[in-house]
């Protein structure tokens, strides 16, 4: 309650200056020519009463200060449609979520929060279930295309399996897989991890699990690609 009172007080103070500047000292005399009616018929000059400044203030708005526990730190921001589209193309080396050479994300832009400034005037950047669903669709599409492309490429051309051979696993080439994971986490999430970083463990586990289930290390990298994109560290910053 006290928070709202103080917000109200601040807003009143802000508007007080405004009102003092805007309020007139005297109304204009609109008649300056001889064509106006005879003096006795001229209506009384408009004399609006001064508006009490203590009436003014702003209520709930997009400008209401946030609470004290949100100070000095910023929340993670979800990528907008353009950022997401470009990010997907950057991490995959040019592959976007496209159909018939048109970006699916662009097609879904309004659903994903882009305002049209006519009916919707504020961008919705919440990581809503709808956003996460389409993000997952995008991840599956681009990662599938990416692994198919990389199967035909030499290791120096690849961006997903850039430190491993296609058949490498944590059992057969742990250092290479580890190096690849670290490179991907930098590429997708912008994080630098040491070999013994605990955060790597979950990614190693994912790789091992998918290899165990599918017997195909390439599928493991596809799963890691999808997981990296679905991870909040990818779509938010």
């Amino acid at each position: 309650m006290s928070r709202w009172l103080s917000i109200f007080a601040v807003c009143i103070l802000t508007l007080v200056g405004c009102v003092e500047e805007q309020l007139p000292s005297a109304p204009i005399n609109p008649h300056t020519t001889p064509n106006h009616p005879a003096p006795e018929t001229i209506p009384e000059k408009p004399t609006p009463a001064a508006v009490p400044v203590d009436l003014h203030g702003v209520g709930e708005s997009e400008l209401v200060p946030v609470s004290a526990d949100e100070a000095n730190v910023r929340p993670r921001k979800r990528m907008n449609v353009e950022q997401l589209d470009r990010a997907l193309r950057r991490v995959t080396g040019g592959i976007g979520w496209d159909k018939n050479n048109k970006s699916e994300l662009e097609r879904l832009a309004a659903t994903l929060g882009r305002p049209d400034y006519r009916q919707v005037v504020q961008e919705d950047l919440t990581p809503s279930p709808v956003f996460l669903k389409f993000l997952d669709d995008a991840a599956r599409a681009v990662c599938t295309e990416l692994v198919e492309r990389e199967k035909t490429q030499g290791v120096e051309e690849r961006v997903l399996m850039s430190h491993v051979e296609l058949e490498d696993t944590l059992d057969s080439a742990p250092e290479k897989v580890q190096a690849n994971l670290r490179a991907l986490l930098l590429r997708y999430h912008g994080v630098v991890l040491g070999d013994d970083a605990p955060e790597l463990e979950t990614w190693r586990w994912l790789h091992t699990s998918v290899v165990h289930v599918t017997k195909d290390p390439v599928q493991a990298w596809r799963a890691i690609c999808i997981a990296l994109i679905n991870h909040p560290s990818f779509y938010s910053f």
């Binding site: 009102v19 805007q22 209506p43 000095n72 910023r74 049209d116 679905n230």
Partner: protein, 522 residues
């Protein structure tokens, strides 16, 4: 598939993290909530996304890894990039709401359609007048291609239809198309002297689409709309890209035009009926010669001094068609003082207040209108539902002829469109003969009307509300939240440095993204 999904869910849950206490026996298995402080590479990633809209390149990551911090030069590069200007444009779209969809820029009587089966071009709506229905002409060549006479033939369906003639079009020069004879007429004036490209000319049977059909639109209304909206983007790019003072965006006198927009203002705008194009938003004298099909080249056009940057741009004036809505948008977005009732609602009107016709005094209304009316008066010489400027020479603040006609009747459209000639309350009779924007204005606000939005910008820049608000907007964009009360001093610092740096928008953005708060993420 289910396994992968389960793994993903586990990963996500893990990534969201718990704040379990340290030193657990299985510490290596615990996903700790990441530190609030971004690492150098994470900071680089955030900067790159915010300032360029894309992820960093490998080379940029390498540079930061070598130094273990983000060099100032890299931030400067980001701010100097074209991509940053895209982000600045995006930021300003949220302030200016440039969307003219649904707005009719073309007089329907001056719009051509094509009948696919015959290839005939004809005016659909206007055809009702001279053919008896909205139908094309006959697919027979007109005997007199000079159109001295047009031969109409009675058809079985009751319509009267002429033939066609071959004409070139401005949108596809060099190729002749079949144009119905009535629509192909090229006289500048009708028989009774009406200018054919004007609003009145659009309803004259002896007026057509002009030479090369230049007065008619053909599937290009969207192109005109888009060009008007894009003018704003170019203004933002020019002012911010060249690091001119931000105030110039709100006071500058130049506009950006491409081929379609020049064609629109030169040949098509005058006939518009949806809003007032007279006086012109851009006088033809200021327009460069440009090819209609040149959509990519944008030329800056210098307009008269009364212009006030984006605030008097056609896109802004048409998006916000009343002076109150123009002021409201400006007050909300650039002054950060939205017009909203207080918590608990508006106070009750006192006796007599409720009936006051002056909204600045009427109970309840005055809560906002005591500010809104003077604010709206800055646009007083920009007609509502219009884009032109009412010059003091042609539209004096007080016109005795309009006062006279208000009292005795017989007002011209000049008076009835622009001056107060009717009173909705006795109090308004005192304003007969005054420009509409003077209604209930006070002495202190007369300068608002005459000086226009530029004066408003100077005033709110002088009292620091504009720089404060822009600092707030930059924080909202880059911090992703509103300011906290405890951070008001930080906001003031941003605002002051913005002013000290000559209202350099890039410097404001730099100050916000290099602040400690930007680097702490939760």
């Amino acid at each position: 598939m289910m396994t992968v999904r389960a793994i993903l869910i586990a990963l996500l849950l893990c990534s969201l993290g718990s704040s379990a206490s340290a030193e657990l026996y299985n510490e290596e298995m615990v996903c700790r909530a990441p530190s609030d402080e971004l690492s150098a590479t994470e900071y680089l990633r955030s900067l790159s996304l915010d300032l360029r809209g894309s992820l960093p390149t490998e080379e940029e990551y390498d540079a930061v890894l070598n130094e273990n911090f983000v060099p100032d030069a890299l931030i400067a590069d980001f701010l100097a990039s074209d991509e940053f200007l895209d982000m600045a444009v995006r930021f300003h779209k949220a302030l200016l709401w440039p969307n003219l969809d649904g707005l009719r820029l073309v007089n329907r009587n001056m719009e051509l359609r094509k009948e696919n089966s015959t290839g005939l071009y004809y005016r659909y709506y206007a055809g009702q007048r001279y053919r008896g229905d909205r139908v094309p002409c006959r697919d027979i060549e007109e005997p007199d291609p000079t159109l001295q006479t047009i031969v109409k033939v009675a058809m079985e369906d009751g319509t009267m239809r002429e033939g066609y003639v071959w004409r070139e079009s401005y949108w596809n020069p060099g190729e002749e198309i079949k144009v119905c004879a009535y629509d192909a007429q090229a006289m500048e004036f009708s028989e009774n002297g009406t200018l054919c490209r004007s609003r009145s000319g659009a309803s004259k049977d002896d007026c057509g689409c002009g030479p090369d059909l230049i007065w008619c639109a053909y599937k290009n209304e969207g192109l005109f709309r888009e060009a008007l909206e894009t003018d704003l983007d170019h203004r933002v790019r020019e002012i911010i890209g060249s690091e001119r003072p931000y105030l110039d965006l709100l006071t500058d006198t130049s506009m950006h035009v491409n081929g379609p927009l020049v064609h629109y203002f030169r040949h098509i705008a005058e006939a518009n009926t949806s809003f007032s194009m007279m006086p012109f938003a851009v006088s033809k004298d200021y327009l460069p010669q440009m090819d209609y099909n040149d959509t990519e080249t944008w030329n800056a056009v210098s307009l008269p001094d009364h212009q006030a940057g984006v605030l008097t741009s056609p896109a802004f004036l048409l998006r916000f068609q009343t002076n109150r809505s123009r002021a409201n948008q400006f007050w909300t977005k650039f002054v950060c003082e939205p017009f909203q009732p207080p918590p608990g609602g508006l106070p009750e009107a006192k006796d007599g207040e409720a009936l006051d016709p002056d909204l600045q005094s009427r109970g309840g209304c005055k809560f906002c209108h005591a500010i809104l009316e003077p604010a709206a008066s800055y646009w007083g010489r920009w007609p509502e539902s219009g884009t032109g400027y009412l010059s003091q020479e042609e539209y004096p603040a007080f016109d005795p002829a309009c006062e006279k006609c208000a009292l005795v009747g017989g007002c011209s459209s000049h008076c009835s469109n622009n001056y107060i000639v009717k009173a909705l309350a006795p109090k308004e009779e005192a304003y007969f003969g005054w420009l509409k924007s003077y209604l209930y204005q006070h002495d202190a606000h007369m300068a608002n009307v005459e000086e226009g939005p530029s004066l408003l910008v100077k005033r709110i820049a002088h009292d620091e509300r504009l720089p404060n608000c822009m600092a707030h907007r930059a924080v909202q964009w880059l911090w992703g939240r509103n300011i906290a009360e405890s951070e008001f001093d930080v906001l003031s610092e941003f605002s002051r440095s913005f002013m000290m740096e000559g209202y350099n928008f890039k410097e404001l953005v730099k100050a916000v993204v290099t602040s400690p708060t930007y680097r702490r993420v939760r």
